[in-house]
Symmetry: C2
Subunit: 85 residues, 2 copies
């Protein structure tokens, strides 16, 4: 078995409201960052896992996204896989 | 003025406890993903902003991180700047 690091980038789906992003944008405006036109807040999840092959590591990370990490209705995700820690 | 997209990647500082990551790891284990050895949960913030130069866009995003977006005691951040939307 080899060790892998999978970086999972989860973002609110385009076109959907992102209340957290809007709240951050409002806060930035009141801090005088008036040139900020849009803010979207997502999550960055770094997983360390063991797997037999690159393929099985990626499949496993993808399954974790579908079962737990990402909301398939409101979020998109992508996985960047790196071998080693 | 030009338009920029700044992607801010905020991660829990190495060595610090990450209770959210630990909770996700436990949930993954109970879903039979026993090969997950560590999970760290951070945030991915995408900002669209206007600025005169690349430099001023980056400085501005950096200041937003220090003033609002990141917790300087517990989190690290990096900024990836892209010109255009």
């Amino acid at each position: 078995m080899s060790r892998y690091t999978a970086e999972v980038r989860i973002t609110p789906r385009a076109g959907l409201l992102d209340p957290e992003g809007k709240a951050v944008q409002n806060a930035l405006h009141s801090l005088e960052f008036g040139d900020v036109e849009d803010v979207r807040v997502g999550r960055l999840i770094r997983l360390r896992l063991r797997a037999d092959t690159d393929d099985s590591a990626r499949r496993s990370a993808d399954e974790m996204c579908r079962k737990l990490l990402a909301n398939p209705v409101t979020e998109d995700y992508e996985i960047v896989l790196v071998k080693g820690n």
